[in-house]
Protein backbone atom coordinates (compact mmCIF):
# COMPACT_ATOMS: atom_id res chain seq x y z
CA UNK A 1 0.00 0.00 0.00
CA UNK A 2 3.06 2.27 0.00
CA UNK A 3 2.49 4.92 -2.68
CA UNK A 4 5.76 5.65 -4.53
CA UNK A 5 6.84 9.07 -5.83
CA UNK A 6 5.36 10.16 -9.11
CA UNK A 7 1.85 8.87 -8.54
CA UNK A 8 0.19 11.73 -6.69
CA UNK A 9 -0.23 15.21 -8.11
CA UNK A 10 1.00 18.02 -5.89
CA UNK A 11 -2.47 19.17 -4.81
CA UNK A 12 -3.39 15.73 -3.48
CA UNK A 13 0.04 15.21 -1.94
CA UNK A 14 -0.11 18.59 -0.18
CA UNK A 15 -3.66 18.01 1.14
CA UNK A 16 -2.72 14.57 2.43
CA UNK A 17 0.47 15.92 4.01
CA UNK A 18 -1.44 18.71 5.77
CA UNK A 19 -3.95 16.21 7.18
CA UNK A 20 -1.14 13.84 8.19
CA UNK A 21 0.71 16.64 10.00
CA UNK A 22 -2.47 17.65 11.82
CA UNK A 23 -3.14 14.06 12.90
CA UNK A 24 0.45 13.54 13.97
CA UNK A 25 0.48 16.84 15.91
CA UNK A 26 -2.64 15.79 17.81
CA UNK A 27 -1.10 12.39 18.56
CA UNK A 28 2.16 13.95 19.77
CA UNK A 29 0.21 16.28 22.06
CA UNK A 30 -1.87 13.37 23.33
CA UNK A 31 1.25 11.31 24.04
CA UNK A 32 2.97 14.21 25.83
CA UNK A 33 -0.04 14.82 28.04
CA UNK A 34 -1.15 11.31 28.90
CA UNK A 35 1.79 8.94 28.48
CA UNK A 36 4.04 8.45 31.51
CA UNK A 37 7.66 9.26 30.58
CA UNK A 38 8.55 5.68 31.51
CA UNK A 39 6.76 4.52 28.36
CA UNK A 40 8.30 7.00 25.91
CA UNK A 41 11.25 4.76 24.93
CA UNK A 42 8.75 1.98 24.30
CA UNK A 43 7.34 3.97 21.36
CA UNK A 44 10.71 3.91 19.60
CA UNK A 45 11.34 0.26 20.41
CA UNK A 46 7.81 -0.70 19.43
CA UNK A 47 8.38 1.01 16.07
CA UNK A 48 11.46 -1.17 15.62
CA UNK A 49 9.36 -4.16 16.69
CA UNK A 50 6.70 -3.39 14.06
CA UNK A 51 9.44 -3.12 11.43
CA UNK A 52 10.94 -6.46 12.48
CA UNK A 53 7.54 -8.17 12.70
CA UNK A 54 6.75 -7.03 9.17
CA UNK A 55 9.61 -9.27 8.03
CA UNK A 56 7.94 -12.43 9.33
CA UNK A 57 6.33 -14.40 6.53
CA UNK A 58 2.92 -15.97 6.82
CA UNK A 59 2.53 -18.40 3.88
CA UNK A 60 -0.90 -18.24 2.25
CA UNK A 61 -0.99 -20.50 -0.79
CA UNK A 62 1.02 -21.42 -3.86
CA UNK A 63 4.21 -19.73 -2.74
CA UNK A 64 2.63 -16.40 -1.87
CA UNK A 65 2.85 -15.08 1.64
CA UNK A 66 1.51 -12.17 3.60
CA UNK A 67 2.95 -10.19 6.44
CA UNK A 68 1.75 -8.07 9.32
CA UNK A 69 1.22 -4.34 8.78
CA UNK A 70 0.83 -3.71 12.46
CA UNK A 71 -1.19 -0.51 12.84
CA UNK A 72 -3.95 -2.26 14.79
CA UNK A 73 -1.53 -4.29 16.91
CA UNK A 74 0.38 -1.11 17.83
CA UNK A 75 -2.89 0.67 18.57
CA UNK A 76 -4.04 -2.07 20.94
CA UNK A 77 -0.69 -2.55 22.68
CA UNK A 78 0.45 1.07 22.94
CA UNK A 79 -2.71 3.17 22.80
CA UNK A 80 -3.74 5.34 19.85
CA UNK A 81 -1.41 8.34 20.22
CA UNK A 82 1.72 6.25 20.69
CA UNK A 83 0.63 4.00 17.81
CA UNK A 84 0.32 6.98 15.46
CA UNK A 85 3.82 8.17 16.44
CA UNK A 86 5.33 4.67 16.15
CA UNK A 87 3.76 3.93 12.76
CA UNK A 88 4.86 7.36 11.49
CA UNK A 89 8.40 6.52 12.54
CA UNK A 90 8.17 3.20 10.68
CA UNK A 91 7.01 4.93 7.50
CA UNK A 92 9.55 7.77 7.72
CA UNK A 93 12.38 5.28 8.20
CA UNK A 94 11.13 3.14 5.32
CA UNK A 95 10.96 6.18 3.05
CA UNK A 96 14.27 7.78 4.09
CA UNK A 97 16.37 4.67 4.45
CA UNK A 98 14.90 2.09 2.13
CA UNK A 99 13.12 4.30 -0.43
CA UNK A 100 10.02 2.21 0.31
CA UNK A 101 7.23 4.71 -0.31
CA UNK A 102 7.94 8.07 -1.91
CA UNK A 103 9.11 11.29 -0.29
CA UNK A 104 6.43 13.44 -1.89
CA UNK A 105 3.92 10.68 -1.11
CA UNK A 106 5.14 10.40 2.50
CA UNK A 107 2.28 12.60 3.71
CA UNK A 108 -0.27 10.38 2.00
CA UNK A 109 1.36 7.18 3.25
CA UNK A 110 1.56 8.51 6.81
CA UNK A 111 -2.08 9.59 6.57
CA UNK A 112 -3.25 6.17 5.36
CA UNK A 113 -1.16 3.78 7.39
CA UNK A 114 -0.06 5.81 10.42
CA UNK A 115 -3.09 8.04 11.09
CA UNK A 116 -6.22 6.53 9.53
CA UNK A 117 -5.30 2.89 10.22
CA UNK A 118 -4.41 3.22 13.94
CA UNK A 119 -7.23 5.71 14.57
CA UNK A 120 -9.84 3.43 12.98
CA UNK A 121 -8.37 0.41 14.76
CA UNK A 122 -8.49 2.13 18.12
CA UNK A 123 -12.02 3.42 17.62
CA UNK A 124 -13.34 -0.02 16.64
CA UNK A 125 -11.35 -1.76 19.36
CA UNK A 126 -12.52 0.60 22.12
CA UNK A 127 -16.15 0.47 20.98
CA UNK A 128 -16.27 -3.33 20.65
CA UNK A 129 -14.59 -3.83 24.02
CA UNK A 130 -17.13 -1.55 25.63
CA UNK A 131 -19.91 -3.63 24.05
CA UNK A 132 -18.46 -7.09 24.57
CA UNK A 133 -16.64 -6.75 27.88
CA UNK A 134 -13.03 -7.31 28.75
CA UNK A 135 -12.64 -11.07 28.62
CA UNK A 136 -9.71 -12.45 26.66
CA UNK A 137 -12.05 -13.70 23.94
CA UNK A 138 -13.77 -10.33 23.55
CA UNK A 139 -10.42 -8.56 23.51
CA UNK A 140 -9.08 -10.81 20.76
CA UNK A 141 -12.28 -10.53 18.73
CA UNK A 142 -12.24 -6.75 19.05
CA UNK A 143 -8.57 -6.56 18.05
CA UNK A 144 -9.07 -8.84 15.04
CA UNK A 145 -12.05 -6.96 13.71
CA UNK A 146 -10.30 -3.65 14.37
CA UNK A 147 -7.30 -4.88 12.37
CA UNK A 148 -9.54 -5.77 9.42
CA UNK A 149 -11.29 -2.39 9.56
CA UNK A 150 -7.98 -0.53 9.73
CA UNK A 151 -6.66 -2.23 6.58
CA UNK A 152 -9.84 -1.60 4.59
CA UNK A 153 -10.02 2.05 5.73
CA UNK A 154 -6.38 2.63 4.78
CA UNK A 155 -6.98 1.01 1.37
CA UNK A 156 -10.03 3.21 0.72
CA UNK A 157 -8.04 6.33 1.65
CA UNK A 158 -5.20 5.20 -0.63
CA UNK A 159 -7.64 4.53 -3.50
CA UNK A 160 -9.22 7.95 -3.02
CA UNK A 161 -5.83 9.68 -3.21
CA UNK A 162 -4.88 7.81 -6.37
CA UNK A 163 -8.24 8.67 -7.92
CA UNK A 164 -7.96 12.33 -6.88
CA UNK A 165 -4.61 12.46 -8.69
CA UNK A 166 -6.21 11.24 -11.90
CA UNK A 167 -4.13 8.05 -12.07
CA UNK A 168 -7.15 5.78 -11.95
CA UNK A 169 -10.91 6.00 -12.11
CA UNK A 170 -12.68 6.11 -8.78
CA UNK A 171 -15.33 3.67 -9.98
CA UNK A 172 -12.61 1.16 -10.87
CA UNK A 173 -10.11 1.65 -8.12
CA UNK A 174 -12.49 1.59 -5.16
CA UNK A 175 -13.90 -1.93 -5.76
CA UNK A 176 -10.46 -3.21 -6.78
CA UNK A 177 -8.54 -1.79 -3.79
CA UNK A 178 -11.29 -2.37 -1.23
CA UNK A 179 -11.97 -5.90 -2.50
CA UNK A 180 -8.34 -6.99 -2.47
CA UNK A 181 -7.73 -5.44 0.93
CA UNK A 182 -10.84 -7.02 2.40
CA UNK A 183 -9.06 -10.32 1.75
CA UNK A 184 -5.66 -9.05 2.91
CA UNK A 185 -7.36 -7.62 6.00
CA UNK A 186 -8.52 -11.12 6.99
CA UNK A 187 -4.87 -12.18 7.12
CA UNK A 188 -3.99 -9.09 9.15
CA UNK A 189 -6.86 -9.83 11.55
CA UNK A 190 -5.77 -13.44 12.13
CA UNK A 191 -2.09 -12.52 12.53
CA UNK A 192 -2.94 -9.69 14.93
CA UNK A 193 -5.09 -11.99 17.05
CA UNK A 194 -2.46 -14.76 17.13
CA UNK A 195 0.26 -12.32 18.23
CA UNK A 196 -1.97 -10.56 20.75
CA UNK A 197 -2.96 -13.90 22.28
CA UNK A 198 0.72 -14.73 22.84
CA UNK A 199 1.43 -11.32 24.38
CA UNK A 200 -1.63 -11.38 26.65
CA UNK A 201 -0.85 -14.89 27.90
CA UNK A 202 2.71 -13.85 28.74
CA UNK A 203 2.14 -10.32 30.06
CA UNK A 204 -1.58 -9.52 30.54
CA UNK A 205 -0.75 -6.33 32.42
CA UNK A 206 0.64 -4.73 29.24
CA UNK A 207 -2.89 -4.04 27.99
CA UNK A 208 -3.93 -2.66 31.36
CA UNK A 209 -1.43 0.15 31.15
CA UNK A 210 -3.07 1.32 27.93
CA UNK A 211 -6.56 1.02 29.43
CA UNK A 212 -5.57 3.13 32.40
CA UNK A 213 -4.84 6.23 30.30
CA UNK A 214 -7.35 8.86 31.46
CA UNK A 215 -10.16 10.33 29.37
CA UNK A 216 -10.59 7.33 27.10
CA UNK A 217 -14.06 8.25 25.80
CA UNK A 218 -13.07 11.74 24.70
CA UNK A 219 -9.84 10.45 23.19
CA UNK A 220 -11.74 7.75 21.28
CA UNK A 221 -14.07 10.37 19.87
CA UNK A 222 -11.14 12.59 18.88
CA UNK A 223 -9.39 9.79 17.00
CA UNK A 224 -12.63 8.72 15.37
CA UNK A 225 -13.16 12.29 14.19
CA UNK A 226 -9.59 12.43 12.90
CA UNK A 227 -10.04 9.28 10.81
CA UNK A 228 -13.40 10.44 9.47
CA UNK A 229 -12.05 13.83 8.41
CA UNK A 230 -9.08 12.17 6.69
CA UNK A 231 -11.37 9.79 4.80
CA UNK A 232 -14.11 12.28 3.97
CA UNK A 233 -11.64 14.91 2.72
CA UNK A 234 -10.77 12.70 -0.25
CA UNK A 235 -13.79 10.48 -0.67
CA UNK A 236 -16.53 13.13 -0.56
CA UNK A 237 -15.37 15.28 -3.50
CA UNK A 238 -14.93 12.15 -5.61
CA UNK A 239 -18.34 10.77 -4.74
CA UNK A 240 -20.11 14.03 -5.44
CA UNK A 241 -18.28 14.65 -8.70
CA UNK A 242 -19.77 11.40 -10.05
CA UNK A 243 -23.51 11.94 -10.46
CA UNK A 244 -25.61 8.80 -10.65
CA UNK A 245 -25.90 8.93 -14.39
CA UNK A 246 -27.01 5.52 -15.58
CA UNK A 247 -25.24 5.92 -18.89
CA UNK A 248 -22.00 6.77 -17.15
CA UNK A 249 -22.30 3.74 -14.92
CA UNK A 250 -23.09 1.34 -17.73
CA UNK A 251 -20.24 2.61 -19.83
CA UNK A 252 -17.85 2.52 -16.92
CA UNK A 253 -18.80 -0.88 -15.66
CA UNK A 254 -18.69 -2.47 -19.06
CA UNK A 255 -14.99 -2.02 -18.55
CA UNK A 256 -14.77 -2.11 -14.77
CA UNK A 257 -16.42 -5.51 -14.59
CA UNK A 258 -13.53 -7.01 -16.46
CA UNK A 259 -10.96 -5.22 -14.36
CA UNK A 260 -12.33 -6.19 -10.96
CA UNK A 261 -12.78 -9.84 -11.86
CA UNK A 262 -9.20 -9.97 -13.02
CA UNK A 263 -8.07 -8.24 -9.83
CA UNK A 264 -9.77 -10.72 -7.52
CA UNK A 265 -12.77 -10.87 -5.35
CA UNK A 266 -15.98 -12.81 -5.77
CA UNK A 267 -17.90 -10.08 -3.97
CA UNK A 268 -16.95 -7.38 -6.41
CA UNK A 269 -17.90 -9.73 -9.22
CA UNK A 270 -21.26 -10.38 -7.62
CA UNK A 271 -21.91 -6.73 -6.96
CA UNK A 272 -21.13 -5.76 -10.53
CA UNK A 273 -23.31 -8.46 -12.00
CA UNK A 274 -26.38 -8.08 -9.85
CA UNK A 275 -26.61 -4.49 -8.76
CA UNK A 276 -24.56 -2.33 -11.07
CA UNK A 277 -27.57 -1.76 -13.25
CA UNK A 278 -29.29 -0.02 -10.36
CA UNK A 279 -26.61 1.96 -8.54
CA UNK A 280 -22.89 1.41 -8.16
CA UNK A 281 -22.86 2.96 -4.71
CA UNK A 282 -25.56 0.58 -3.49
CA UNK A 283 -23.73 -2.41 -4.92
CA UNK A 284 -20.46 -1.33 -3.37
CA UNK A 285 -22.19 -0.82 -0.04
CA UNK A 286 -23.82 -4.27 -0.19
CA UNK A 287 -20.51 -5.93 -1.08
CA UNK A 288 -18.87 -4.01 1.74
CA UNK A 289 -21.55 -5.09 4.19
CA UNK A 290 -21.19 -8.76 3.28
CA UNK A 291 -17.40 -8.48 3.53
CA UNK A 292 -17.72 -6.86 6.96
CA UNK A 293 -19.96 -9.66 8.24
CA UNK A 294 -17.53 -12.28 6.95
CA UNK A 295 -14.62 -10.49 8.63
CA UNK A 296 -16.49 -10.30 11.92
CA UNK A 297 -17.35 -13.99 11.65
CA UNK A 298 -13.74 -14.95 10.98
CA UNK A 299 -12.55 -12.85 13.92
CA UNK A 300 -15.16 -14.50 16.15
CA UNK A 301 -14.17 -18.00 15.06
CA UNK A 302 -10.46 -17.37 15.58
CA UNK A 303 -11.09 -15.77 18.97
CA UNK A 304 -13.13 -18.85 19.95
CA UNK A 305 -10.40 -21.18 18.75
CA UNK A 306 -7.73 -19.30 20.70
CA UNK A 307 -9.52 -19.18 24.03
CA UNK A 308 -11.55 -21.29 26.39
CA UNK A 309 -14.71 -19.68 27.76
CA UNK A 310 -14.48 -17.38 30.75
CA UNK A 311 -10.82 -16.45 30.48
CA UNK A 312 -10.06 -12.88 31.41
CA UNK A 313 -7.56 -10.66 29.65
CA UNK A 314 -6.59 -9.18 32.99
CA UNK A 315 -6.88 -11.75 35.78
CA UNK A 316 -6.21 -9.28 38.58
CA UNK A 317 -8.83 -6.76 37.51
Amino acid sequence: MHIPDGFLDLRTAATAAALAVAGLAYALRDVKRSLPPRRVPLIGLAAAFVFAAQMLNFPVAAGTSGHLIGAALASVLLGPGAAVVAMTAVLVLQALMFADGGITALGANVLNMAVVAPAVAFGVFAALRRLLGRSLRATLLAAGFAAWCSIVAAAVACAAQLAASGIVDWGTVLPAMAGVHMVIGLGEAVITMLILAVVLRARPELLDEVGRVPGTAGVTAAYGLMASVALVAFVAPLASSRPDGLEYVAERFGFAGFATVAAEPPLADYSVAALASQSPWLSTAVAGGIGTLIAFGVAWLVARALTTAGQSAAPHR
Binding site: F51, A53, L194, V199
Partner: protein, 207 residues
Protein backbone atom coordinates in the same frame (compact mmCIF):
# COMPACT_ATOMS: atom_id res chain seq x y z
CA UNK B 1 17.08 -14.82 2.20
CA UNK B 2 19.61 -13.66 4.77
CA UNK B 3 21.65 -11.96 2.07
CA UNK B 4 18.57 -10.16 0.82
CA UNK B 5 17.80 -8.97 4.33
CA UNK B 6 21.36 -7.73 4.77
CA UNK B 7 21.07 -5.72 1.64
CA UNK B 8 17.78 -4.21 2.75
CA UNK B 9 19.13 -3.29 6.14
CA UNK B 10 22.36 -1.60 5.11
CA UNK B 11 21.78 0.83 2.28
CA UNK B 12 24.75 2.97 3.29
CA UNK B 13 27.95 2.34 1.36
CA UNK B 14 30.95 3.67 3.21
CA UNK B 15 33.28 5.89 1.21
CA UNK B 16 35.21 9.15 1.29
CA UNK B 17 34.31 10.70 -2.05
CA UNK B 18 33.41 14.39 -2.41
CA UNK B 19 29.76 13.33 -2.45
CA UNK B 20 30.13 11.54 0.88
CA UNK B 21 31.79 14.61 2.40
CA UNK B 22 29.05 17.06 1.45
CA UNK B 23 26.91 18.20 4.39
CA UNK B 24 23.94 15.89 4.93
CA UNK B 25 21.46 18.78 4.94
CA UNK B 26 22.63 19.84 1.47
CA UNK B 27 22.34 16.32 0.05
CA UNK B 28 18.92 15.88 1.65
CA UNK B 29 17.68 19.17 0.22
CA UNK B 30 19.11 18.35 -3.20
CA UNK B 31 17.46 14.93 -3.26
CA UNK B 32 14.17 16.49 -2.18
CA UNK B 33 14.40 19.20 -4.85
CA UNK B 34 15.26 16.59 -7.46
CA UNK B 35 12.25 14.47 -6.53
CA UNK B 36 9.86 17.42 -6.53
CA UNK B 37 11.24 18.43 -9.92
CA UNK B 38 10.67 14.94 -11.30
CA UNK B 39 7.12 14.88 -9.94
CA UNK B 40 6.42 18.31 -11.45
CA UNK B 41 7.74 17.42 -14.91
CA UNK B 42 4.93 17.02 -17.42
CA UNK B 43 4.21 13.44 -18.44
CA UNK B 44 6.17 12.45 -21.51
CA UNK B 45 8.99 15.01 -21.19
CA UNK B 46 11.45 12.26 -22.04
CA UNK B 47 14.42 14.57 -22.73
CA UNK B 48 14.24 16.07 -19.23
CA UNK B 49 13.85 12.58 -17.73
CA UNK B 50 16.96 11.49 -19.60
CA UNK B 51 18.94 14.48 -18.38
CA UNK B 52 18.01 13.80 -14.76
CA UNK B 53 18.93 10.12 -15.18
CA UNK B 54 22.32 11.14 -16.60
CA UNK B 55 22.85 13.55 -13.70
CA UNK B 56 22.08 10.88 -11.12
CA UNK B 57 24.36 8.39 -12.88
CA UNK B 58 27.19 10.97 -12.86
CA UNK B 59 26.78 11.55 -9.13
CA UNK B 60 26.85 7.81 -8.53
CA UNK B 61 30.09 7.53 -10.51
CA UNK B 62 31.71 10.47 -8.68
CA UNK B 63 30.69 8.94 -5.35
CA UNK B 64 32.42 5.71 -6.43
CA UNK B 65 29.34 3.72 -5.42
CA UNK B 66 29.05 0.03 -6.00
CA UNK B 67 26.77 0.31 -9.03
CA UNK B 68 25.75 -3.33 -8.87
CA UNK B 69 24.42 -2.92 -5.34
CA UNK B 70 22.59 0.26 -6.30
CA UNK B 71 20.96 -1.56 -9.22
CA UNK B 72 19.97 -4.49 -7.00
CA UNK B 73 18.38 -2.16 -4.46
CA UNK B 74 16.52 -0.40 -7.24
CA UNK B 75 15.28 -3.68 -8.70
CA UNK B 76 14.15 -4.90 -5.27
CA UNK B 77 11.98 -1.78 -4.98
CA UNK B 78 10.54 -1.95 -8.50
CA UNK B 79 7.82 -4.53 -7.71
CA UNK B 80 6.08 -2.04 -5.38
CA UNK B 81 6.09 0.57 -8.13
CA UNK B 82 4.83 -1.81 -10.79
CA UNK B 83 2.02 -3.12 -8.60
CA UNK B 84 0.65 0.40 -8.11
CA UNK B 85 1.36 1.48 -11.69
CA UNK B 86 -0.62 -1.48 -13.01
CA UNK B 87 -3.73 0.27 -11.67
CA UNK B 88 -3.17 2.92 -14.35
CA UNK B 89 -3.54 0.25 -17.02
CA UNK B 90 -7.12 -0.28 -15.87
CA UNK B 91 -7.96 2.97 -17.69
CA UNK B 92 -8.66 2.88 -21.38
CA UNK B 93 -5.52 4.07 -23.17
CA UNK B 94 -3.43 3.81 -20.01
CA UNK B 95 -0.15 2.76 -21.63
CA UNK B 96 1.49 6.21 -21.99
CA UNK B 97 0.39 7.02 -18.45
CA UNK B 98 1.83 3.72 -17.22
CA UNK B 99 5.18 4.31 -18.93
CA UNK B 100 5.54 7.87 -17.69
CA UNK B 101 4.61 6.88 -14.13
CA UNK B 102 7.16 4.07 -14.23
CA UNK B 103 9.86 6.45 -15.47
CA UNK B 104 9.09 9.09 -12.84
CA UNK B 105 8.92 6.62 -9.96
CA UNK B 106 12.10 4.87 -10.99
CA UNK B 107 13.98 8.19 -11.18
CA UNK B 108 12.68 9.21 -7.74
CA UNK B 109 13.69 5.83 -6.33
CA UNK B 110 17.13 6.23 -7.86
CA UNK B 111 17.54 9.63 -6.21
CA UNK B 112 16.59 8.20 -2.80
CA UNK B 113 18.78 5.12 -3.21
CA UNK B 114 21.70 7.38 -4.10
CA UNK B 115 21.05 9.63 -1.11
CA UNK B 116 20.92 6.72 1.35
CA UNK B 117 24.00 5.11 -0.22
CA UNK B 118 26.09 8.22 0.41
CA UNK B 119 24.58 9.57 3.65
CA UNK B 120 24.37 7.92 7.06
CA UNK B 121 20.88 7.69 8.50
CA UNK B 122 22.11 9.26 11.75
CA UNK B 123 23.20 12.32 9.74
CA UNK B 124 19.74 12.53 8.19
CA UNK B 125 18.28 12.39 11.71
CA UNK B 126 20.52 15.33 12.62
CA UNK B 127 19.05 17.25 9.70
CA UNK B 128 15.51 16.52 10.93
CA UNK B 129 16.50 17.60 14.43
CA UNK B 130 17.88 20.93 13.21
CA UNK B 131 14.79 21.41 11.02
CA UNK B 132 12.79 21.50 14.29
CA UNK B 133 10.84 18.32 13.72
CA UNK B 134 9.14 17.62 17.11
CA UNK B 135 11.64 16.14 19.58
CA UNK B 136 9.41 13.20 20.47
CA UNK B 137 9.30 12.08 16.84
CA UNK B 138 13.06 12.43 16.36
CA UNK B 139 13.69 10.55 19.62
CA UNK B 140 11.36 7.80 18.43
CA UNK B 141 13.14 7.62 15.07
CA UNK B 142 16.56 7.54 16.71
CA UNK B 143 15.55 4.80 19.14
CA UNK B 144 13.92 2.86 16.35
CA UNK B 145 17.04 3.05 14.21
CA UNK B 146 19.23 2.10 17.17
CA UNK B 147 17.21 -0.99 18.10
CA UNK B 148 16.04 -2.06 14.66
CA UNK B 149 19.07 -4.24 14.03
CA UNK B 150 19.07 -5.54 17.61
CA UNK B 151 15.44 -6.65 17.36
CA UNK B 152 15.83 -8.15 13.89
CA UNK B 153 18.78 -10.19 15.14
CA UNK B 154 16.87 -11.22 18.24
CA UNK B 155 13.99 -12.31 16.02
CA UNK B 156 16.35 -14.31 13.82
CA UNK B 157 17.74 -16.09 16.89
CA UNK B 158 14.25 -16.96 18.10
CA UNK B 159 13.25 -18.25 14.67
CA UNK B 160 16.41 -20.31 14.39
CA UNK B 161 15.85 -21.79 17.83
CA UNK B 162 12.27 -22.64 16.91
CA UNK B 163 13.16 -24.14 13.54
CA UNK B 164 15.80 -26.36 15.08
CA UNK B 165 13.19 -27.81 17.46
CA UNK B 166 10.22 -28.15 15.10
CA UNK B 167 10.10 -31.08 12.71
CA UNK B 168 6.91 -30.59 10.74
CA UNK B 169 6.30 -27.35 8.92
CA UNK B 170 2.64 -27.31 7.96
CA UNK B 171 0.99 -24.01 7.21
CA UNK B 172 -0.79 -23.87 10.56
CA UNK B 173 2.46 -24.59 12.41
CA UNK B 174 4.23 -21.81 10.54
CA UNK B 175 1.48 -19.29 11.32
CA UNK B 176 1.39 -20.18 15.01
CA UNK B 177 5.17 -20.31 15.12
CA UNK B 178 5.60 -16.89 13.52
CA UNK B 179 2.96 -15.41 15.81
CA UNK B 180 4.71 -16.95 18.80
CA UNK B 181 7.99 -15.39 17.72
CA UNK B 182 6.38 -11.98 17.16
CA UNK B 183 4.49 -12.08 20.46
CA UNK B 184 7.53 -13.09 22.46
CA UNK B 185 9.53 -10.45 20.62
CA UNK B 186 7.08 -7.79 21.77
CA UNK B 187 7.28 -8.99 25.36
CA UNK B 188 11.07 -8.85 25.21
CA UNK B 189 10.86 -5.46 23.48
CA UNK B 190 8.77 -3.97 26.25
CA UNK B 191 11.14 -5.37 28.87
CA UNK B 192 14.07 -3.92 26.95
CA UNK B 193 12.27 -0.57 26.77
CA UNK B 194 12.09 -0.48 30.58
CA UNK B 195 15.84 -1.07 30.82
CA UNK B 196 16.49 1.55 28.12
CA UNK B 197 14.38 4.04 30.07
CA UNK B 198 16.35 3.42 33.26
CA UNK B 199 19.60 3.78 31.35
CA UNK B 200 18.40 7.02 29.74
CA UNK B 201 17.42 8.41 33.15
CA UNK B 202 20.80 7.41 34.56
CA UNK B 203 22.38 9.56 31.85
CA UNK B 204 20.24 12.59 32.62
CA UNK B 205 17.49 12.30 30.02
CA UNK B 206 14.38 14.43 30.51
CA UNK B 207 11.27 14.03 28.38
Amino acid sequence: MAALRDRLLSPYQHGSSPVHRLPAALKFAAALACIVLIVLLPRGAWLAHGMIATGLATIALVAGSNLRQLAIRLLLLEPFVISVALLALLRPGGWPLFLSIMAKSTLCLAAMVLLTATTRFSDLLGVLWRARVPALLVTTLALMYRYLFVLVEEMERMRRARRSRTFTAGRGTVWRGSAQVAGQLFVRTSERAERVYLAMCARGWKS
